[in-house]
Chain length 334, copies 2
DNA sequence: CGTATATGTGGTACCGGTTACACATTCAAT
DNA sequence: ATTGAATGTGTAACCGGTACCACATATACG
């Protein structure tokens, strides 16, 4: 690999000039420019990002910390992040935290040593202390869903509470008269918000009872178990709003095993809008988050922050859309 | 951030000694060691990976180039790669190539500039020329599925041909008498091998006809279209072996729309063993590849290559397993 | 014409590590 | 006593860039 000094020698100028030419900082005579161009060409020179990273500030690398890439919600997000990052010339390192604070901190240490330019947090355990820790090091961060604390970093999230209300209202309109909710892990803001949305929509209704809310774990198996519990306690349930699609899929599976027909006997609605929802049989109605868009926005935000054209921390709340499908279809009106 | 010189000053020794201590290269007196330890402790010193990268050789970073992380096959693979990489202290950069040679080459250029330690190719367009190009730069590479050329890099793949035979035999055992095949993109080795496996198993059977093989694109929509074409031409088909799970899912969907019952009228088998297969209704029988294991092996291989404890290029062919599920179930024997 | 400003270029000290080499000292073996 | 290996440490060049500063020349303005 040729170095900048090789190029300088061949072009008959100093390294400073080459650097100026490369970064378009300072003056370079048009003739000199041509000579440099030719030298670079013939030497097949490519500036080393590592040297640049050491000398200057930026490594043109960002990190994406998420709980688990094999959770179907994240691949699309990751794709979006990588897409916009690469169009801006950034490279992305990805880390699976499994939502464990310890792992996150380990990664953060590692990333600091690597002079990473910024971090996207799609993980949920980042707390105020950690965020401040990173901020101290001057590394810009942007969060998904969760704000460690007000204004410590920008946050992108979608309207979880409103979405949950939408889901319940849709179930009501579809003819449900007793709707249960399977909620996700208590420590996840998204799960909390969706639960609140559910409560908003049902608490004034005569049939409402707190026992209609049971915990899941945001995974398929959790949805299955919760559904069994639910139908055991309330055999007359005719609508289930699951806190995310994975649990809704579990619900569908459990109902199928119990030989309960969807949507005839029980209607089901999920939340997230992952691809899987569409391939279920019956197809799963869901409140879709704009996953790709979230990833794209969060990346653009981070890059803006890195490049200094943004120094305020804002909260972006994205709209969700109810996607009605088979699993909540009213009986045909004959 | 403290630097090595700060530590040296505080500990009252030279930077060389600190470096020796850090890398456990060369002698360091036990007393000196203690002083250094203390200095590092009080300064909260962390060596800069970037400086190390520039001075020494390794950046402790590997790249994973795959077609598209949102293709359900890859998240699990990516997870495995990241898991083992991180246990060895490596960090992973991921790149979506969309199977476009141009994108791949752009990434490779970028990665070279970053002094990446090695590359895992799970993408399919890497050709001999590209691979040599990388080899010239001395960057170790390991491939999934595809060997650009014999012995230019190690390859991890699973027994596609044998797996396809397994699938067809299973369909035959389940009572099928006319089995079609939906194959994937012609330029993918995996698709070719699976097609060959299908042919191996059926070519000597009386009903066999080349028109039983139709192209899909390894995606859901491709599977749906292919299924429609297939049943149009051969209404008496009672078994379909799709080249991958995504297409098999499409098949299931198409059959459902055509009101053809699975497995009663037509049995379906996929290939890959992605999580989605299990959540289908009916659950999809498939030939499962050990996806996580493939990712783990390929990463370990790469790391060994990087660290010099491996210099031969080998081919690892992993066993596949037929996972019988509802979509190929025989009618109950009453 | 003197002076300010724009244009163009080079020297070189960094950035924060690694490592080759030189130089001591200790200790066991001859 | 001599020698050579093992132990221990420091100096400084290098990795490949960036950027500050000095310095020249050309052009414009009052």
């Amino acid at each position: 690999m040729a170095t900048i000094r090789d190029v300088a020698k061949l072009a008959g100028v100093s390294v400073a000039t080459i650097s100026r030419y490369l970064n378009k900082t300072g003056y370079v005579n048009i003739d000199t420019e041509l000579k440099i161009k030719k030298a670079i060409e013939t030497l097949n020179y490519e500036p080393s990002s590592v040297a640049r990273g050491l000398a200057g500030k930026q490594t043109k690398t960002i990190a994406l910390i998420l709980p688990d890439i094999s959770n179907p919600f994240f691949p699309e997000l990751a794709r979006a992040v990588e897409d916009v990052a690469s169009t801006y010339g950034y490279t992305v390192i990805f880390c699976n935290s499994d939502d464990q604070g310890a792992k996150e901190r380990t990664y953060i240490e590692l990333l600091k040593k690597k002079y990473i330019d910024g971090i996207i947090f799609a993980s949920n355990t980042l707390n105020k202390h950690d965020a401040e820790q990173i901020n101290v090091n001057g590394i810009p961060i942007v969060c998904l869903d969760r704000a460690p604390d007000n204004h410590i970093c920008s946050v992108v999230r979608s309207k979880n509470r409103e979405g949950a209300r939408l889901a319940v209202e849709h179930l009501l309109e579809s003819g449900c008269r007793k709707i249960a909710h399977i909620y996700g892990p208590r420590d996840l803001i998204t799960a909390q918000e969706r639960m609140k949305g559910y409560e908003d929509a049902v608490k004034s209704l005569p049939w409402y009872s707190p026992s209609l809310m049971v915990p899941g774990n945001f995974r398929i198996d959790g949805g299955m178990q919760a559904t069994e519990t639910l139908l055991h306690g309330h055999p007359d349930i005719d609508g289930i709003f699951a806190g995310n699609d994975l649990m809704a899929i579990g619900t569908l599976k459990a109902l199928h095993r119990m030989q309960i027909r969807v949507p005839d006997q029980v209607k089901v609605c999920g939340f997230d809008g992952i691809q899987m929802a569409e391939i279920m049989e019956p197809e799963l109605t869901t409140v879709a988050q704009p996953i790709y868009e979230m990833g794209a926005i969060v990346s653009r935000l981070l890059i803006k922050k890195i490049e200094g054209s943004l120094d305020t921390n804002e909260i972006y709340e994205l709209d969700v859309t109810l996607v009605p499908r088979k699993s909540t279809q009213k009986e045909a009106q004959l």
